[in-house]
């Protein structure tokens, strides 16, 4: 079917059609990054074709535990949030900001080249899509403006994938970020796989999305097919974990001396894993280095965490020495003061901080204990 601009923006695609989309993206110069099997996990890496997708695999996530297991079908996207989010592609863990060279009696400043990557992200979950939007808001705000982030973001092509089942630690439904992607994608897929058929319902979210899918073989879905897909996504809304989006911000800031902060700090390792895997955490530190001769200096920016001691070190001392104060900072910033700062919660409910905390501290359980909800 050849699509005209302005026609109904919902299509039906076979797996072969998805392969054609990847081909189109490659032809127009995109690097395609998507989920693939790696090191007993489903990780996001460069993929060449749909054969690289983790077809027939799923993940099982619990606090401090992650395992991949075989599914009893051949779904391409039958799993949930990967160990690490997409943020490293937009906001790299370590980046040189500029270099300075001594030249005669003066100094020569060398700015870092712009990041020219043209990335197509394949299989972005609704919660992750919201996280990208949140970081974008942070990095476009005047105080934290980061042009290198924006340069990559502007060129980003996003194929979202709606979740048809949720993972053990997911709580997007209560955060209002998933399991159905509403906006900010170029294309969004819902995968339907059963004994008789295997297809994707595609929603087109942008003109670029439209032009990429234009010449790809597709069909008009029946109402039944669209409803089947929607029903699967509704299934994913039933999640064990939840957070009260309305009351949490106020209740947290009203309970800064709650005894649970002491209790959780006995378990917390202050290791920083939660902040590293969180798709919205954006903190970094800046390091200046020189070579031995002192002729070349470099300023680098690398990921930092509110769990490190250096994070709160200022002239005259450190204002967050206890792990208790650091855990409290993480939780109250993410779920409370973030709202004051950016108008929305800093948590999208992906559950990564629960899965990848080495001792399984559960952000939703902590909030319930502290706010009494």
């Amino acid at each position: 079917m050849v699509l005209q601009s302005g026609t109904k923006r919902i299509l039906k695609l076979t797996p072969d059609g998805l392969e054609q989309i990847l081909d189109v993206l490659h032809k127009i110069g995109f690097e395609t990054i998507g989920p693939t099997l790696g090191n007993d996990a489903i990780v996001y890496e460069t993929i060449g074709s749909i054969d690289d997708l983790p077809q027939g695999w799923t993940d099982k996530q619990e606090p401090a535990a992650y395992r991949i297991i075989k599914r009893n079908d051949q779904a391409y996207f039958g799993f949930n949030a990967a160990p690490q989010s997409w943020k490293r592609f937009l906001y790299p863990p370590d980046r040189t900001l500029f270099r300075i060279r001594r030249k005669g009696k003066g100094l020569e400043f060398m700015e870092q080249e712009e990041n020219t990557a043209e990335l197509a992200l394949i299989g972005v979950r609704p919660c992750e899509l919201e996280a990208i939007t949140i970081q974008e808001r942070v990095f476009t705000s005047s105080e934290q403006r980061d042009d290198s982030y924006l340069a990559v973001r502007k060129k980003l092509f996003i194929i979202a994938v709606n979740c048809t089942s949720s993972g053990g630690n997911c709580f997007c439904a209560s955060m209002n970020t998933g399991p159905h992607a509403k906006e900010n994608f170029d294309l969004a897929l819902t995968e339907v796989v059963n004994a008789n058929e295997h297809f994707f319902i595609v929603e087109i979210g942008s003109e670029t999305g439209l032009s990429v899918i234009h010449d790809v073989e597709s069909a008009e879905p029946t109402e039944d097919e669209v409803e089947t897909a929607a029903g699967l996504v509704r299934q994913a809304e039933s999640q064990i974990r939840k957070l009260d989006l309305d009351t949490t911000p106020k209740l947290l800031s009203a309970n800064l001396e709650h005894p649970e902060w002491d209790e959780v700090s006995k378990r917390c390792l202050a290791c920083g894993n939660c902040t590293m895997v969180c798709p919205t955490c954006f903190c970094s530190t800046v390091e200046d280095t020189t070579d031995l001769s002192g002729k070349l200096a470099e300023r680098r920016r690398r990921w930092d965490s509110c769990f490190t001691l250096d994070f709160a070190k200022v002239a005259g001392g450190n204002f967050r020495t206890s792990p208790r104060s650091r855990y409290r900072q993480w939780l109250t910033h993410k779920l409370s003061s973030w709202v004051d700062q950016f108008g929305k919660s800093g948590c999208v409910g992906c559950g990564r901080c629960i899965t990848w905390c080495p001792v399984g501290i559960d952000i939703t359980a902590e909030v319930q204990k502290i706010t009494g909800t």
């Binding site: 090191n39 290791c271 200046d288 490190t308 001691l309």
Partner: protein, 282 residues
């Protein structure tokens, strides 16, 4: 990095030292000495292993005393002293005091110098028994009853952890000193580096016990990058919580004895690790 003798903000040397590195770099190259105490030499070899950088180092500093590498032995005082090895004999104690006196800035390198090393395992036993087993004439042996870090006897300006050290941390520290800036030697967990490297956590995804959350970064998270748990070579991180990690090890099926052994290795005598292994031995 534990102590700064020079305030990074105001550039004033504390402890009454009127010693200035900044001007010195132009006038003459700083004199550097490398001293060895009880150790395996591995950390000193890391210096030699910095082949590509060594020429730069040799250009930037004057290696005045480094018996492992050169026959040249200039007398002190030295601008920078690098010390490998733990203090295990009364003679070591005297010698480290002399070393301290002869060096304006003292850097200890490796688990032996910073925590007592693997040889500190003897600190849990009666040394006399070892001496009798090992030496035919034990009456000639004069030793301390424990293997101790250098910092227990003299003031140390910079500590570089690891068994063995990371040569890039050493180069970074020397380069920082030469250029009058604070060296970048982070003290947070290995986990942060592990995540920056895009590793899949071996503890969460494979159930492999890993000391990364309580261990100081510095190695580049080598072991988890090769699917092994961290062995804790860099000793306790800045705010370690070993008891919580041990509980998790326990849930993963490690016995009390396994936990004792996990904490009792290269940095066995570092306080946080020592206490944890003691708790599980009871």
């Amino acid at each position: 990095m534990v102590l700064f003798s020079r305030c990074p903000m105001c550039n004033i040397f504390w402890k009454g030292r009127n010693y200035k590195l900044a001007g010195m770099t132009k006038a003459k190259r700083p004199k550097v000495a490398v001293f060895k105490f009880a150790s395996c030499d591995g950390c000193q070899l890391s210096i030699l292993d910095a082949e590509d950088e060594l020429l730069d180092i040799a250009g930037a500093i004057d290696i005045a005393f480094f018996p492992e590498a050169t026959r040249r032995m200039l007398r002190g005082p030295y601008d920078i002293g690098i010390v490998e090895g733990s203090i295990t004999t009364p003679h070591d104690v005297e010698r480290i005091r002399d070393v301290r006196k002869s060096c304006a800035t003292l850097i200890t390198i490796g688990a032996c110098a910073t925590a007592g090393g693997i040889q500190a395992l003897r600190n849990w036993k009666d040394i006399k028994n070892f001496v009798h087993i090992v030496y035919t004439s034990p009456e000639y042996i004069s030793t301390l009853d424990r293997s101790m870090p250098v910092g227990s006897f003299v003031h140390v300006d910079y500590e570089l952890r690891g068994c063995s050290i990371n040569k890039y941390q050493l180069i970074e520290t020397i380069s920082g000193l030469l250029n009058n800036r604070r060296p970048n030697v982070p003290t947070h967990s290995v986990c942060i580096t592990c995540k920056m490297n895009n590793n899949v956590c071996v503890m969460v995804a494979h159930g492999t016990p890993c000391l990364g959350p309580v261990t100081q970064t510095g190695c580049g998270a080598i072991c988890p990058s090769y699917n092994r748990g961290c062995y804790g070579c860099y000793g306790p991180m800045e705010s370690p919580n070993p008891s919580s990690l041990s509980e998790r090890f326990n849930q993963l099926g490690e016995t009390r004895h396994d936990i004792v052994l996990a904490f009792r290795s290269f940095n066995a005598y570092a306080e946080a690790f020592r206490r944890e292994s003691d708790n599980y031995e009871k």
